[in-house]
């Protein structure tokens, strides 16, 4: 029921002009920044050629936010920042302070609000976990998103509020193989995976799906058309060669009568060693660390523990400025599995299209 409120319908105006939101000091010094410094975890100063300074206080964002929570953020921005704030590319909130005298009161205020606005997420530590919808809104997840993130961040909290790791550690989560969190290039990635082939609902498949699309969706050609007799009536459906299924869920994306989700089958795969920056080494994909950890709501203890173990092995073994992937490449994967206490299994060995490029074609390895 569309109620027409306005005289003219406005469309295609695009995003608001970002200039409207820049604090005056930013406008004045746009493109004229000279250097920055992290004053303490979560607090940055940027200094312009002109000598002007901009202070930033970064706080952890839940990403899932009610409008009331946002309004509280706005209240704070009004009080200390002339109403200026921003969000980071990793869903943290940044309060932009032009008036230095307001910095300490702001921090005090933030700290006074319980666990709502933890200050941190800068430098050689662990910042917010980029993540996705999970059970909160999506139809294909193998795990929840925000809940896993909350549990992991609680456990790694100390790394959010400090800068004592060898380098930054970027953690991401995606609740299914679609990888909306783009977890394929993170220092540590949490990925929801299915392990049971699609449940083919013969009785409704033809009604709700286009059979050829479902068949074409399968990267391993595991799906074939089929005819079955249900209650005396012949129906069109599909059969899945279960041996060939690797649970990607692409069939379900195309056909809702092929659900994969299962309380026993679903869980988490952990990945390590990806990066995005071009700093020192080229961007890298994340590689499989642990093929499967069970789905353990509400606090996913096995996953939380495994991640902590990896972070600690890294903290112990890596050199300064070395990202997780750089550390592993220096010491070798056999060492990584040792040091992180992870068992190497068949699943670690690639068997998809480029598998051969991942095999070891040298006698160089460590004992």
């Amino acid at each position: 029921m569309t109620e027409k409120k306005y005289q003219d319908r406005i469309t295609d105006i695009g995003p608001p002009d970002y200039h409207d939101f820049l604090p005056p000091v930013v406008k004045d010094n746009y493109g004229q920044w000279k250097y920055h410094e992290i004053l303490e975890p979560g607090v940055l100063v940027h200094v312009a050629e002109s000598g002007a300074e901009l202070y930033t206080v970064r706080v952890g964002g839940t990403r899932v936010m009610s409008v009331d929570h946002i309004r509280e953020i706005c209240d704070i921005a009004d009080k200390y920042c002339d109403g200026h704030l921003r969000f980071t590319t990793r869903n943290n909130v940044e309060f932009l302070v032009s008036d230095k005298s307001k910095l300490e009161p702001l921090k005090k205020d933030l700290k006074s609000r319980g666990n709502k606005f933890p200050i941190g997420g800068t430098g050689a530590g662990i910042t917010n976990i980029v993540h996705t919808q999970g059970w909160l809104h999506c139809h294909t997840p193998a795990i929840d998103a925000s809940g896993v993130v909350k549990a992991v961040m609680d456990d790694l909290f100390d790394y959010f509020t400090s800068m004592k790791l060898p380098a930054q550690v970027r953690i991401s989560l995606a609740c299914c193989l679609n990888m909306c969190g783009a977890v394929h290039c993170s220092d540590i990635s949490i990925l929801g995976i299915h392990r049971k082939p699609p449940l083919v609902e013969d009785n409704r498949l033809d009604a709700v799906c286009e059979v050829p699309l479902a068949i074409a969706a399968c990267p391993t050609a595991a799906i074939k058309p089929a005819k079955k007799t249900i209650e005396g009536k012949e129906v069109k459906t599909v059969v899945v060669n279960e041996e060939r299924c690797m649970f990607c869920g692409n069939c379900y994306t195309m056909c809702s009568a092929m659900p994969l989700a299962d309380y026993e089958g679903d869980g988490i795969a952990l990945w390590v060693g990806g990066k995005v920056s071009n700093s020192r080494t080229a961007p890298k994909f994340s590689k499989l660390a642990i093929p499967f950890l069970p789905n353990e709501p509400p606090r996913w203890p096995s996953t939380v523990k495994a991640i902590k173990k990896i972070v600690e092995a890294y903290a112990k073994g890596a050199q300064k400025y070395e990202r997780i992937g750089e550390w592993i490449e220096r010491i070798g994967w056999e060492r990584f599995f040792d040091q992180a206490g992870i068992t190497f299994t068949h699943q670690h060995i690639d068997d998809y299209r480029l598998a051969m490029t991942t095999w070891r074609t040298t006698t160089q390895f460590k004992w």
Binding site: M1, T2, K5, Y6, R9, I10, D12, I13, P15, Y18, D20, F21, L22, V26, G31, W33, H36, I38, E40, H46, G61, T62, R63, V67, D68, R71, C74, H84, L85, T89, N115, F117, G123, A124, V130, G134, W135, L136, H137, H139, T140, K150, A151, S162, N178, M179, N250, E264, D266, V276, S277, N278, S279, P283, N295, P297, K320, Y321, Y352, R353
Partner: protein, 424 residues
Amino acid sequence: MALKHKTPLLDELEKGPWPSFVTDIKKMAEKKPACDDLLGLMELSYKEKEGHWKHGGIVGVMGYGGGVIGRYCDRPDLFPNIAHFHTMRVNQPTGKYYTSERLRKVCDIWEEHGSGITNMHGSTGDIILLGTTTDKLEPCFQDLTHQANMDIGGSGSALRTPAACLGMSRCEWACIDSQDIIFNLTRTFQDELHRPAWPYKFKIKCSACPNDCVAAIARADCSIIGTWKDNIRIDPEAVRAYAAGEFAPNGNAHGTGPEKLDIQKWVTDLCPTNCMWWDGKELKINDKECTRCMHCINVMPRALRPGKETGATILLGAKAPILEGAQLSSVVIPFIKMEPPYDEFKEFIEKLWEWWDENGKNRERLGELIQRVGLRNFLETMGLQPDPRMINTPRYNPYIFFKEEEVEGGWKRSAEEYRMRHKA
């Protein structure tokens, strides 16, 4: 106010030092029945370890082909207030700066028309307004445009909401004006954003330097990454000050405060091209061999800065794994000037879309198409010259294609003549 659903499992997520989305939603639930049911449904998922949302139908806003994700709960019997629970993607202001004023306006609109729950922000960059019913979409949209001067973002087989790092607004390393570029492109390509007409989705992201703070190289079909061509600017005094311990290394990212920086150990030895020398007094860079990785600049922000002849490297094809496996973007234009109104770039990307649109199969991302037909085919259509900067390594298989016109005498041959020279 007591909530309808007991949530003993979710309650566990109210503990601990990290902010709790559960606590937050619970508060909203006091005034929004949808949020109450949302908690109930989440609790059920936590108990059963299975999600409870169905495939979305096609819902949207008049004249737009995307920007809304339809979503229906599979237990409307238990959670009637979220039987329909669609998402609106709202195009974020570039760089994600806000004023409290505008943000409050969005909050008000969303409290009126939706659940009051958001994601700040979605992985692509949008403001996600999470959960409303079909009939609220249009009024919500109208309020957003009229009251907040905001528009919805992309979904479906269309251009997706482009995103940028904060760039020149607050970063000393910005080589290009990432915010302006993305803002300009988004405004220019509104039609492509709002009316899905392509084989599949297409994402653009822009980082103003190779640190790539918006993860463009991993998450965008077209990654625009700032870079420079001339020399790293060195302030020799500041270099000495780092060595002397006057500054905190790496912008204090290690929390050490000012401390003597062992330039040999942490800068020149870690330079991937070994093109730097430090003799204890002077830092020298052989810029010809530098690959602009940013490491030395990152470690000594007060002493080193990118050069002044700036522009962008254009890389194409990043995507998530479905179907062929994940890809990172690959260099196709090593260097391009990026000055408003960005006509050269726009011509490039329009030509690119045209080619992809014509040649791409259904649900084939650009990177997969290039993979399928080969980089050569792509470069030729685009009129780009092959360049060793596009590859990590030349081919190592001998399966070289030649075209007929490249081969002396062409391909037409006579079997008779051949058999004159060679008896069968």
